[in-house]
Symmetry: D2
Subunit: 263 residues, 4 copies
């Protein structure tokens, strides 16, 4: 078993300086823990609750900043793509592509993204049973791309609420793909603030600990130096200055669990 | 209050003859009831559970057949579009565009479809609270298109199951848009047959009666002369030869309810 | 098919005058509609959210008032019983016994109540699948009592919310017992007011119309002349002065649906 | 923070020898880990899905066996009580009383049990939000009994399924009472075998690891030397011969998490 890897960064790209600072801090923390790290940030939030919310700097400026993170900080970068994203352009810059939960059933889209040949992190729909991710990953694997990851980010539980079914992390291993747990979108309250999604940041450590104890390949987290001022998904982002303590504990749990024959 | 209108037809376009026959039968039934009728069929099922399922005849042949239905039978036609659909091409043939439930949060897509200027039936996501449809419809209405409909088709209820929350039909009226109930997708068991969705056809009449009694503008139903041999969504399609009896009862219920000041 | 019967009254017994007035009004309305009527009220609310809430007048005074309703107004009466209720004492006064949803799986209790020989209305647990009510009704029927009714009152849907799955009204017919729909507890928001349950009275007519259109034997509703001043379950009670209009419409829907071979 | 304690044993009392053997084995395992241990078994299963299922040896023989476990093995014992249980009789033998999930809202019952003065483990209803357990524990604490525990055992998630919302373990700490996680009933499939509940034993270790990593005071597990031959709840029982490996890992996780300031 490999050690836990981390995908983390601010939800949306805000400024170049914020991107570089966040990536630098996270590289330092994860480096000390021997934890592989991939920087994440979005250039366009295509599915905000309301059409008046901030969507990001756009593709050109967004990719420029991600390229700077990659070259100046020296870490691989991930971003999410949508149906109308110019995939070649994005794939020429980023190291990992990510597909949104709402789009996990769009066959052409999943296959187009997988066809870029880059590793892909496929988020499981909030409406999907964990065993149905094998059909989703099969669509991606059918392109010949062998670097497919599957990611749990909570499942619909009544209205404006998600629940993380920890059984799903075990079930999704049957896809043969590395399983990632998204600890920050899992605490979203979809639509919970009227024109935006709310979030329960306070539950991030508990759910992250739980998922790592179940046994996962990777952890996804959105983080921000000042979550309450973040331009997207602040309510469910984890403060950057509290990442070190959390990741240290998670790294210990990960090693403990992966050393056990029970996993 | 206007009388209940019907959107109906086979899930996917199979053959021209099947399309014409089905449309003709439905026109006859609804005509006798004074029930406005829109013919529905898809040319490409872009989000099948498995990538090996039948997807349809494709756009060219599909639009040709829809145009024949329109001209030969003399009924308006509806089809569903996806993010990579050439919208202009489809809009040049069909009378009503429909957006899939999974895509209800894709801002660009919803606005691109609304921008075609045609009436649009927006299906509510299986993961969305009914009050959040006002943000979705607001995105569409912001384009200036005033012919937006909102459609309930069941909400996630545990795994591989949907429930029709009849409160949602009342709540969605607050969008100011006509509310449509999809009585056949609401009985789907998503992923319930392993590599395909199952369905509980036997509950269609009960749920359709319930929705009409709550008070709706339109009813959506998939129907097929031989549901067990349908190439898509057979398990939840209602047999064509049982449409007449069902629609007669629904029409009576609709008139009764709409005559009451309680609605 | 028999015409729809009504079980209705204030949630908890408040005063004798209120009981007589409410029963009288309801008898008059239902009599004009040819709708059989059973008066309902509780003498002790044994499962309030908080232990500081009003629980009722107690068994002695409660039964005295129910006996007055019966003799002065001339209608059968129903009350709910709990595990520590002296069943013989209650059964000597009331015509129908009712068991609470939370207790539907308590084998001894269900059988003890059925053994009283009176008709029993068994409420389905908020945690129970509709097909599992056949095991519950089988426990009651095993006592030899043939007058068992099964009652839907909503199923858990996330936290502090219930949803009425209208399929359940059809599924529960397989018990062979008359199916009752509880239109007012189904709009409860359990625990939704902190120390008490909230409710969405505004959805009562829509859900009642839906259930009657699906086809039920009986309808259960809590009603009060001044719901906002009711001592229990006010938020989900339907105003007494609006019962007539609602019942007239429901009676028409019931006759329409039961005349159809589709039911 | 105290180390994790364990409540474990076969669901229902089968024979004296089985009880003694199981208790002895568990005492040995937990002793080596410094893990406080309470033996659990039921003398009467009062809420089986079907009235034809095995219910247990009855109170007299059941208490006799529990007393033997206590004296011969030297461990405290716990059993569950119901509304018609003679509480004094049970409390004169057992060390901890447990109340069933279905009965968590029965005010008199909860208070009667708490009035015995023994520690009480209150299981949270499958229909209850975690924040509503503060009203339940308040009822018990109002009796003056300060030894109240609250226990998560899964929440209704669609039909015949439960989900363990790990957030609830954090939320229930606000009751001020020790939080227990029931790792075996949480994998039940209620009603999932038709006339009995099914279970997913294979998920017990993953959910137990998750709960311990979130941080809990105690863990509840049903175990049996031969789960497939158990007379109750076999499908969700964990094999006795696999307890040692699991508890060793859980003990390590517990110490790791409780040493962290993040908990």
């Amino acid at each position: 078993e490999h050690p836990l890897f981390l995908i983390a960064g601010p939800c949306v790209i805000e400024t170049e300086q914020l991107a570089l600072d966040t990536a630098g801090t996270l590289k330092e923390i994860t480096g000390a823990l021997g934890m592989p790290f991939i920087y994440k940030s979005s250039f366009d939030k295509a599915n905000r609750s309301s059409h008046t919310s901030y969507r990001g700097p756009g593709i050109e400026e967004g990719l420029r900043i991600l390229a700077e993170v990659k070259s100046q900080i020296g870490v691989p970068v991930l971003t999410d793509v949508h149906e109308d994203t110019p995939l070649q352009e994005v794939a020429s810059v980023v190291d990992v592509l990510q597909t949104p939960a709402f789009l996990c059933r769009q066959t052409n889209f999943i296959q187009n993204v997988a066809n870029m040949g880059k590793p892909v992190n496929i988020k499981k729909g909030q409406f999907l049973a964990p065993w149905d991710m094998k059909h989703v990953s099969a669509k991606a694997l059918a392109t010949g791309n062998r670097h497919i990851m599957v990611c749990e980010r909570g499942v619909s539980f009544g209205y404006n609420n998600l629940v993380s079914d920890m059984r799903s992390l075990t079930i999704m291993r049957e896809t043969g793909c590395p399983v990632v747990y998204d600890a920050t979108h899992s605490v979203q309250l979809p639509g919970g603030q009227g024109t935006a999604s709310g979030g329960q940041r306070e539950f991030v450590p508990a759910l992250a600990r739980a998922a790592v104890a179940v046994g996962i390949s990777g952890l996804f987290m959105e983080t921000h130096p000042e979550p309450d001022r973040a331009l997207s998904d602040g309510p469910n982002s984890w403060p950057l200055d509290r990442m070190k303590a959390l990741l240290e504990l998670l790294s210990t749990l990960d090693r403990t669990v992966k050393a056990s024959p029970l996993l």
